[in-house]
């Protein structure tokens, strides 16, 4: 019997038992959908974290107060007030260090006319634009004079403009907005970067750090200091220079713990993607187990089916079916169940992760490889878990099978 005939015979048997076939597939559907969705969400999370960290700036070193254990991320970082504007001037601009800029962030209520929005205020200096690759769509960025004179000026992100004026293209330069009831003059609007969600550079206002400290926070807080190294090769040199400079400035004796932390972007990236990748693997692993359970479900049903159809097997053998014909028939049934289940699962997982992405406001990414792997994997599950029942069927003795009641 040729292969296509075997497929037809198998499909007919599956159709004859629609409910059972559907229920058997359900295990595969759920398993594959779970794997696809979990890996998709995990990859999406990794990608968005990577792009967020990369979006922080190039060759970036971040100094934050609080001590750290060997460069890792630590919950307590930034909690004390170890950094000050003096520290900023202590870091030398040289071959390794291109620019230094202090940053303090706070949240504020912003009002313009009848429009009002809540957004984050980034208080910083002129070099921030250089370090973070901020580009200006209209107007200008804050300058050293603004900082020196504590000018009440603000640079708006495009999302803020939309939220305040209802239109991203509204002309706002020169207008006065109120940030926590303090009037600020708008001097520029940044170019949209497209980043959304937490730490979006589109939904924030940049203002001189001196003004924000005096008018909005009331303290001379410096949350962190951003340092841009001249190139990736100078990251380590820059980091060493910062450490030496701050050791001196903070008068930390040799061997005592630092009260600040220098993180470089690569470390952060590695830590964060490490975390999300572990999470992805964990989620994928759990989903994989459900796939395994789905496979065992197929085997279980196929075994029942073989027993139930013993007489049919006997009849087929009596009129000339060889072991291989019977084996193929049952194997194809198992593979069709698993592959069909896998296909539906892929579609469902794709839809599910897209929906989850929408709900959680994050991008999900389902790679062609993960689809392909899931598909091949479900086919493999069909073969692996189908072979045992199929061999059992193929090995049946025609006389015994015909006698079976």
């Amino acid at each position: 019997m040729n292969f296509f005939e075997s497929i037809r015979v198998s499909l007919r048997a599956l159709r004859a038992n629609k409910l059972r076939s559907a229920l058997t597939m359900l295990g595969m559907i759920i398993g594959v959908a779970a794997v696809i969705a979990m890996v998709g969400i995990g990859n999406g999370a990794t990608a968005s974290i990577t792009s967020q960290i990369q979006g922080l700036g190039s060759n970036l070193l971040t100094i934050s107060s609080g001590q750290s254990n060997s460069g890792g991320v630590r919950g307590g970082a930034g909690s004390s007030d170890a950094l000050s504007m003096t520290d900023v001037s202590k870091i030398p601009i040289d071959t390794a260090v291109k620019a230094v800029s202090p940053v303090t962030t706070t949240n504020a209520q912003v009002v313009f006319g009848s429009g009002n929005t809540s957004t984050s205020i980034t208080a910083t200096t002129a070099d921030y634009a250089l370090i973070k690759n901020v580009t200006i769509a209209s107007g200008r960025f804050i300058t050293q004079e603004d900082v020196d004179s504590s000018a009440r000026v603000a640079v708006l992100g495009p999302t803020v403009v939309t939220n305040l004026m209802g239109d991203a293209n509204a002309s706002v330069i020169g207008k006065v907005i109120k940030i926590n009831n303090v009037p600020f003059q708008v001097i520029g609007v940044t170019t949209a970067t497209g980043s959304t969600g937490f730490m979006s550079s589109d939904d924030m206002i940049t203002a001189p750090i001196s003004t924000v400290q005096a008018r909005l926070i009331g303290k001379k807080t410096v949350r962190s200091i951003l340092v841009s190294a001249t190139s990736a090769d100078f990251m380590q040199t820059a980091q060493d220079e910062i450490t030496t400079a701050l050791h001196k400035a903070h008068k930390i004796p040799e061997g005592k713990a630092d009260d600040f932390t220098v993180q470089n972007q690569a470390d952060m990236l590695a830590t964060m993607t490490g975390v999300t990748q572990t999470l992805t693997m964990l989620l994928g692993g759990i989903a994989g187990i459900s796939l395994l359970v789905g496979g065992i479900g197929i085997m279980n049903i196929m075994l029942v089916s073989v027993t139930e159809r013993t007489r049919e097997i006997g009849i087929r053998k009596a009129i000339g079916a060889k072991g291989m014909d019977i084996l193929l028939q049952f194997l194809i049934e198992a593979v069709v169940l698993s592959v069909l289940g896998g296909g539906i699962g892929i579609a469902l997982g794709y839809g599910g992760s897209t929906l989850a992405g929408k709900a959680l406001k994050m991008s999900t990414s389902i790679s062609m490889t993960s689809v392909l792997v899931a598909f091949c994997f479900s086919a493999a599950i069909g073969i692996v878990f189908g072979v045992f029942p199929a061999r059992k069927a193929a090995a049946m003795d025609p006389i015994d099978a015909l006698r079976y009641e």
């Binding site: 019997m1 040729n2 005939e5 015979v9 004859a16 007489r311 049919e312 006997g314 009849i315 087929r316 053998k317 009596a318 009129i319 000339g320 079916a321 060889k322 072991g323 291989m324 014909d325 003795d397 025609p398 006389i399 015909l402």
Partner: protein, 241 residues
């Protein structure tokens, strides 16, 4: 055609051994029409299963068309059953959820015959047993006699050299029985070798030779003196095409 030499079939049930066949020698030539008779448990079915290559003997030689098939492997036996033997069972053994024509197509499926030819030959075979009007019926939509005729169509559709039937009329009333025997007589007339097992002497009278079994061996072998001619009764309404 068929040559059995010292065939033994021994079933071992734990410590107890049952010799269903205890040294059977039998020769059946081409185009013979033989019935096997004997009391219940005398080994008739065991014999037929071996003849039909469904089972292998514990001991002895079985030459079918000159080759010893007693020691053939499972897959080789499948091929022999498919090419040379048409088997008709007492319980019909049709696939339940499958239509008459698809049941008849089945052996040709395993013989590797293409779909179009398969369908044409299956329909022709069903017509030859008077079921041309019932080809798309499922077994449960057919009477016992009709089901047995589907089974006969399935047995003869591959044009086997031997047709074996173990109590083909065992589940049928006398009218259906005679119809089935009429079909066998017609097949015999066209040159087929036919061996049937039966309990009923009047069914045996439709054949030409009676082999009598007792306790696993042949007790008698006689020629039927006055072979009865089975009447192909009028086909039921709608069966004639």
């Amino acid at each position: 055609m068929i040559d059995l030499k010292g065939i033994k079939k021994i079933y071992a049930n734990g410590d107890i051994q049952v010799a269903a066949l205890n040294g059977v020698d039998l020769h059946v030539g081409a185009s013979e029409f033989v019935s096997i008779m004997g009391p219940s448990g005398s080994g008739k079915s065991s014999m037929m299963n071996i003849l039909g290559c469904l089972d292998t003997p514990t001991e002895g030689e079985y030459y079918l068309d000159g080759t010893d098939v007693a020691k053939a492997s499972g897959d080789d036996l499948s091929v022999i059953r498919n090419r040379k033997i048409g088997f008709v069972f007492q319980g019909f053994n049709l696939l339940a959820r499958t239509t008459a024509v698809e049941n008849v197509e089945l052996p040709m499926l395993y013989a590797g015959i293409g779909g179009k030819e398969r369908r044409a030959r299956a329909i022709a075979a069903l017509e030859s047993v008077g079921l041309g009007g019932r080809i798309h019926h499922r077994p449960k939509e057919l009477s016992g006699g009709q089901q047995q005729r589907v089974a006969i169509a399935r047995a003869l559709v591959t044009k086997p050299s031997i047709i074996l039937a173990d109590e083909p009329t065992g589940n049928l009333d006398s009218r259906s029985s005679e119809e089935v025997m009429a079909i066998f007589q017609r097949l015999h007339a066209s040159g087929n070798t036919i061996i049937i097992v039966t309990h009923e002497p009047d069914i045996a009278e439709f054949t030409q030779r009676i082999v009598r079994f007792r306790d696993g061996h042949i007790e008698g072998d006689e020629v039927v003196q006055n072979q009865r001619l089975a009447q192909a009764l009028v086909l039921e309404e709608g069966e004639a095409k």
